[in-house]
Symmetry: C2
Subunit: 390 residues, 2 copies
């Protein structure tokens, strides 16, 4: 099925498992980062990013920069908000807290609205905050990898446009882009920061972001220069525009190998309708969540409409420790992730179901993951509670 | 000779050509970034970095972070100097100017001493500046890729220690680490920022840096928090220490594939004495420079002691345009780089001779590069001037 050596199925919420062709692209021979071949590859990749975001706004700007997904927070915090300006952060877990921390580092006045553990802030509360003072930006985590909570970007953005039309709506889409519905133009988003190593299916090392024409205008109207150097959109915008126009230019050396891998991954993604990809991820997610509930376990994201399709975070039963079950899963050649959000880190594990693991039935990752989960829980002495029908 | 598909020899001053085993490591199957296998690989890699810098100071700290080499400037500027403090930048080309620009972005008061084109600032001038006011840090580009000028770190650091012992000496070693002699502890350096894609021979995408125990103490005595989030040494130090101690932790997802490639490259480098590696690069550099002079061409770095061994930047003859000769070279399957430093960009080309291209005689890159250069010049109508003896 795969030309990769046998190894445990990596079913963490990122990095995910990668397609063979994507991994082979990582070994691309060395080439000039400003030569015509690579200009074409990188240029096409940037145009593919537009399609991935279902955007046709020519003023919107894609950025692909060497770095971790975390770098996306710096891009937003050092460019789209100035020191002393207000930022409203909607938090649904660890990554909302991190985004707030990053915004504060660059001097924004941050107000954070935390959802309850396993839930998300509700519109009336957000609307009240927006009515209270003027916010330059609002940030929201589309899927928080620490809780598996999904945010409803469409309703949120519609409300913000009504209540505070000038506020930029910026999305952390690290764990959503490539598996959750995301209609950038249609929903009126101003920015999404993401990374390659989750549902996009490209090895880690790239910060991938997309900003609306409106966000770039707000950037252009800054009174102070960007407060990061490597993360300066002023430095990177001409470079990205030049690559998309096949013109050589230099700010910092890109990684041709990672860009080739991303190009391969995006070519695969865009070869099929995006709606089909989102639907398949939803079906796999439903299957995993049903199996988890069937085991008598509780999903961290409490309401069905708040449950992400990228991963399932669920609480371990009383008496089963993470340090017990993860090695038993690994013995069965499955790697899940432990908890990350400090409030629940010791109590939950996370089953990622993105990219090839969700889409390639030949890999059998999902069934193998669920079977291994049942077996490992039994090995830990867990018996599922009897239901009324049994 | 190589399992890579046939392609032009990439003889730019980075990215360089890569070893087959290094490129194969880039295709490593996906694995957990906090699992025991990757903890061991990354931990070993960090320990290898210490050896690469010939350092035995346990308080010194290596950092390997997803990003371009440029990110190293942010690490220095946002962590080792605070807004309003003085930084002295010694510039030998484009990259000195960039470092100064980055320091200013984070609020340092920058004084720049520029060498003449093709030369470097001299010790008396630097000493006078250091006597004039107190500088928190001094930065110097070991090899400026835009000019091929080499700095003399040993004499410089000895002078700084005498005149201004508290000033941190920070080196931009992007184009020197792995091919130029660099004795971190012995010379008393406080920091080197580098990247993988030049003489280290790892594909681009990693910022590699090393700071002395003293630099980390200065960092710890900051009055203000680090002014970058993704580039915060406060965030990264515990992560690097945990990897070196094989303990899982998380700040931002590293790139296991790039780390595997770096590990392979460093294992190859450290399998032989470093002195031998530096010597071989010097021999290849001497050969290239002799051939260039033999052609009647002028090397940008005027004095022999200022000439880097990583690359040779040289002026094209009157009447030969970069846009003429580079395609003719590429027809012969050789890629050189055009100019980069604005003062000479249209007049010089750059021949990189690092890593496998310098060390693996089977690749025949150096002779092929020189033969192609002679042929392309002839094709452009250039005839070398007669010497007295001919």
């Amino acid at each position: 099925m795969s030309s990769q050596p046998e190894h445990p199925a990596l079913l963490m919420p990122g990095p995910t498992e990668f397609d063979d062709a994507v991994l082979q692209s990582m070994s691309h021979h060395s080439e000039s980062h400003i030569g015509p071949d690579f200009l074409a590859t990188f240029g096409e990749t940037l145009t593919q990013i537009r399609k991935l975001f279902q955007s046709t706004d020519p003023a919107a700007q894609p950025f692909v920069i060497s770095g971790s997904g975390t770098l996306g927070w710096d891009l937003v915090s050092a460019n789209l908000v100035e020191a002393g300006e207000n930022a409203l952060v909607l938090s649904t877990g660890y990554f909302g807290e991190g985004f707030a921390d990053c915004l504060s580092t660059y001097g924004a006045n941050v107000t954070r609205i935390d959802g309850p553990i396993g839930g998300r802030p509700q519109l009336p509360e957000i609307e009240a905050a927006l009515s209270d003072k003027k916010y330059k930006i609002l940030t929201v985590t589309h899927v928080d990898t620490s809780t598996g909570v999904l945010s409803d970007l469409k309703s949120l953005t519609a409300m913000v446009r009504k209540v505070s039309p000038e506020t930029l709506v910026i999305v952390d889409g690290v764990c959503s882009v490539g598996c959750e519905e995301l209609a950038f133009d249609e929903w009126g988003l101003d920015g999404v920061v993401s990374a390659g190593q989750k549902a996009i299916g490209c090895p880690p090392g790239l910060s991938i972001s997309f900003f609306s024409g409106r966000a770039m205008q707000v950037f252009d109207s800054r009174k102070t220069p960007p407060s990061s150097y490597f993360g300066s959109l002023k430095k990177w915008r001409p470079i990205m525009q030049n690559y998309e126009n096949r013109k050589p230019s230099y700010f910092a050396t890109p990684s041709p190998q990672l860009i080739h891998a991303l190009h391969t991954a995006l070519t695969q993604i865009l070869a099929r309708p995006l709606a089909e990809r989102f639907q398949k991820h939803a079906e796999v997610s439903d299957k995993v969540k049903e199996a988890v509930r069937e085991l008598g376990l509780e999903i961290v994201a409490t309401k069905p409409e708040d449950q992400a399709h990228a991963l399932t975070a669920f609480y371990l039963p009383e008496g089963v420790a993470i340090s017990d079950i993860l090695p038993k899963l690994e013995n069965r050649k499955v790697i899940f992730a432990g908890g990350l959000h400090k409030a629940i880190a010791s109590k939950c594990i996370r089953f990622g179901h993105m990219g090839v693991s969700a889409l390639d039935p030949n890999r059998n990752h999902i069934d193998h993951g669920l079977q291994s989960l049942r077996a490992a829980l039994a090995e830990c002495g867990y018996q599922k509670p009897r239901t009324r029908d049994s």
